[in-house]
Amino acid sequence: MLDLSEAFRAALRQISLLDPQLIEIVGLSLKVTLTAVAIATIIGFALGGALAVYRFPGRGALAAVLNALMGLPPVVAGLFVYLFLSNAGPLGVLQLLYTPLAMIIAQVILITPIIAALTRQTCEDLLEEYREQLRSLGASSAAIVTTLLWDGRYRLVTAVLAGFGRAIAEVGAVMIVGGNIDHVTRTMTTAIALETSKGNIALALALGMILLAIALAINMALMGIRRIASHFAYA
């Protein structure tokens, strides 16, 4: 049966050799997810901040929808984007299916609700504390949003990291809209799925360990940020 220790050793060998195939796959994963996170952050901050500050009809419903979308299964997000980008779909003319851009779009849909919902929560908590003072200062709603976003920066960074963690680890969305095409849309997670199905446990393990290392790095960054924040009472 499967010899785990042998597989681990082979995996470590591949990582240490800086196998170009490995580097290409890891590089694409990071490119796709980091881009998606950047876009989702801009949208999420704006949306979350606005939801916390502005009053408008349907505000509560929108907040509830965002909270629900936090749990959107990645494969559903992928299916949804696929239906739009397919040549049989409304946006087929853009020829985006099976490209990294399609994967970015799917991941943006996946993580924007997370960032927006956490941003809204952070801003609302801060607003509890600042509301009267900001009103006394006569700040406009837009100015209040930017004030809250900057003041909440440590909590917001953890929201962004949460979004990143979710995106880098998902396989459903990028598989469906990317097609797992070699050298084009093959990411760490889709490669792990493929190599496992081919029985190439060593390569799959190597990728898995890198993915775990990234997840670990995120968690350590989170801990570090929390520590800095409380030291300066910025939390």
């Binding site: 049966m1 499967l2 694409l28 490119k31 796709v32 980091l34 881009t35 950047a38 876009i39 801009i42 397919s86 040549n87 049989a88 779909g89 087929g92 003319v93 020829q95 985006l96 299916l97 099976y98 490209t99 990294p100 851009l101 900057w150 097609g179 797992n180 095409i181 070699d182 084009v184 493929l194 496992t196 199905s197 081919k198 029985g199 190439n200 446990i201």
Partner: protein
Amino acid sequence: MSAEFGRRNFLKFALAALSLVGLSPTVPRADDNFIIVQSTTSTQNSGLFDHLLPLFTDKTGIEVRVVAVGTGQALKNAENGDGDVVLVHSQPDEEKFVADGWGVKRYPVMYNDFIIVGPGADPAKIAGLNQAPEALKKIAEAKAPFASRADDSGTHKAELKLWEQAGIDPKASSGSWYLETGSGMGATLNTAVGKQAYALTDRGTWLAFANKGDFKVLVEGDDKLFNQYGVILVNPTKHPNVKAKEGQAFIDWLVSPEGQAAIASYTIDGQQLFFPNARPQS
């Protein structure tokens, strides 16, 4: 203070980062010379494409991007226009695809065969049988575990045909000894090996499969296990986005003596996986 600096320049940094990503080659440009081929997981898992496609690209400069799913899904994707060429192994479905107008013409390309693999212990005692339906009957009678792809693929349809010829309805026992994985060939083989179950697989995937455990090839050679591959150009009149010229170039190469030789030259451990059988083109 650094906080002020960060805030003032954050937008500049963000835009700079985004533009860097935009400049990188992840964003597709209109002049990229590639076609999309919808094919099957078994073909991909066999490693044939890693061997074959670079040869075609070197000759023509056309990149081939393979999306590997089950036969049913490959044909459906092509119907949606999400591919330029289909390369699958389910003749009746391929012929229907062309008849319905979704494909231009079906070319036979190559064949391999299916085999039944199973645990070294072989509880149903099917080793050496040369009639596949008979082997399946013995498996059913012994209620020995059997892993089926159950994903509408060419392999799956071939498997169902064999059960039919054995006069058995395995779905009635789905969940007990008949395991419907709904997955590709490799994933199904992983399940089979993990559960010490029999499975029907194409020889190509099996030879390339790296997780065999103690499994052996138990039944082979029955001409009911013959597995024919066909390649079809997606109809450009139905989907104008199809790259008809490049797609046809790929098909022409596959059925040409050069392409056929390339297919035949793909081996694993000295064993040939696919046997070219395109009809000579006049």
